[in-house]
């Protein structure tokens, strides 16, 4: 339980680097997360989000740089950091052979919680995620969504200052995903807590107070979702043509627009897209099969800062992932 009051930033990182053999997974990150905010780390798989979060959680030792979490150094004051953070990982870390309550009691013991306060707090967090009635059931019988909810409850049990959620909704069906977000927003309302999460779902980033877009081991941009979308200042236009190469070339020549091929369509941004479409049909000189104009989304933010959509970035990062895993295996 937090006893002393600390009002500085929840997370403060300077020049954080992590190298695995020849692969640099995180290439120098500077970051300040304010106390009480919901901060999102956005980026494709393999962008270095998990490695960064693992460094902040004291699970991975940084190759260079420093980081303070809840005012404590992640290397020198490991246990203090651990006492002040709650963790929900991508993969479940529950014991399926124990009941939900036993899992939480075990956690309370490991974190040295005062015995008298455990029962009340446990009921509070389990009710929050709607699992209090199932406390006596074996966790092995839970669905994926229930397990994730129980992990969130467990992560909150020792009243951490910062809750780290690494891809909290990955692998869940849309309905469960939205229910997880309901819990998270209730949590923001009811508890004085900083939430630090990673996601590669753009729509989920909208729930965050501020987001950092991460790509290839660095933070590309960091701001509120609104400011980021405004910074794009352009609508997204996607066209289907018979010859995409020629269309891209024509766009460059006639309008001076840099378009790219993304998700199977020629994609580019222009201010006031609706007014541009008539000109496009008149002047492109290429047959257009379909047009789609949309307001800037975080997808466009991502694209305008990294030059690719997040889905395309994921495909190319699969190669990086493989290389990193190889390096990790070699270093064993």
């Amino acid at each position: 339980m937090p006893s002393e009051s600390y009002s500085g930033p929840a997370v403060l990182a300077k020049g954080l680097v992590k190298r695995y053999e020849e692969v640099e997974a995180v290439r120098g990150i500077d970051l300040e997360v304010h106390s009480g905010e919901t901060f999102g780390f956005l980026g494709p798989n393999g962008a270095g989000k998990s490695t960064t979060i693992n460094m902040l959680c004291t699970l991975v030792r940084p190759s260079a740089g420093t980081a303070l979490v809840a005012g404590h150094d992640v290397v020198r004051e490991r246990d203090e950091v651990r006492r002040n953070i709650g963790l929900v990982f991508q993969d479940t870390t529950l014991d399926g052979y124990l009941t939900a309550e036993q899992n939480l009691r075990l956690h309370a013991e490991l974190y040295g919680m005062p015995r008298g306060s455990v029962g009340e707090r446990m009921q509070q967090v389990m009710e929050m995620v709607g699992l209090w009635e199932r406390r006596g059931s074996l966790v092995g019988t839970f669905s994926g969504g229930m397990k994730r909810r129980l992990e969130i409850a467990r992560g909150l049990l020792h009243s951490p200052r910062v809750l780290f959620l690494d891809e909290p909704t990955v692998g869940l069906d849309p309905q469960t995903r939205s229910s997880i977000w309901t819990y998270i927003s209730e949590l923001k309302r009811d508890e004085d807590i900083t939430i630090f999460l990673t996601t590669h779902y753009m729509d989920e980033a909208e729930y965050c107070d501020r987001i950092a877009i991460m790509d290839q081991g660095t933070i590309v941009v960091l701001d509120t979702p609104e400011a980021l979308k405004a910074s794009v200042g352009k609508d997204r236009v996607q066209i289907q043509t018979a010859d995409d190469e020629a269309a891209i070339e024509a766009l460059q020549e006639r309008f001076g627009i840099d378009a790219v091929l993304a998700e199977g369509a020629v994609t580019f941004g222009v201010p006031e897209g609706e007014h541009f479409v008539p000109r496009l049909f008149a002047e492109l000189g290429q047959p257009i099969r379909s047009v789609n104009v949309s307001r800037p989304s975080l997808d466009d933010v991502f694209m305008s800062y990294t030059g690719s959509t997040i889905r395309d970035a994921e495909q190319s990062s699969a190669v990086t992932d493989m290389r990193r895993n190889m390096a990790r295996m070699m270093s064993r």
């Binding site: 699970l59 246990d79 006492r83 990982f89 014991d95 052979y97």
Partner: protein, 302 residues
Amino acid sequence: MATETVAATPENASPPGLPRRDVASLHVPARSLRSELRAIRVVWRRELIRFSRDRLRILTSLVQPFLFLFVLGTGLSTLASAGTHGVNFKTFIYPGVLCMAVMFTAMFSAASIVWDREFGFLREMMVAPVRRSSIVLGKVLGGATVAAFQGLIVIAISPLVSVPYAPLLILQLFALALLLAFAITAFGVMFAARINQMQSFMALMQMVIMPMFFISGALFSVAKLPAWLGVLNRLDPLTYAVEPMRRAIFAHLHVSAAARHALDPGVTWWGWHVPTLLEAAVIAALGLVMLSIAIWEFSRAE
């Protein structure tokens, strides 16, 4: 751990005469012995809960001892009767079978670390604000308790192979079983620190337990072994559990001097008879060494 040592060094190095600053004001984590003990206890308890849930495991792990005692033991007793000086062959192999039951259970308990890694639970324990050594110690003590309990079940059936119920004998057998359970669990955990796959661990287990069991003299007398086997026998840690158990059992039976000499010559080091307490100490020492290695391995794996 290293963090504390580093943090405390400037304090210790303060020149004499100057009042030392209050050490407690340093950023030394509020890591008390009490919280470490709670961690050890809860990890230990988890092993017990899991074991008690797994009734099938308790039952199946009894199959092997029964096979050895009543099938192999009965089958071989006609063949072996010429050399046993009237001692029941099943009684003779009983200590070895007891040890084997303990070993298998202990190794299975250690194997659960590999499961825990595969299913992620290990991570929950590893990120807790407690020493890794507490986690490892809790795990080893838990496995040892479970394995010793399994030993107790085998001790309970001892009258079926003409080993009497005698309080002192039960105590001796149980103490040795507990010690062996501790050493083998520590041994298993030491390996589990480096193994990611259950299949590999199971293969390793087969490769280690069976040779240890055979070489220990669980099924034969070590009286007139060829030199090479005699050397191996003395190197086998299990020897130091089987032999004192057998000696304790024979002390509670009417066994002729000739039979004792032929069946339980005792362990000798260069002609010197190793006393029971030293044999127990060998197992305890091996267990502690392996526990230390296991702790070291888990502490450095960051």
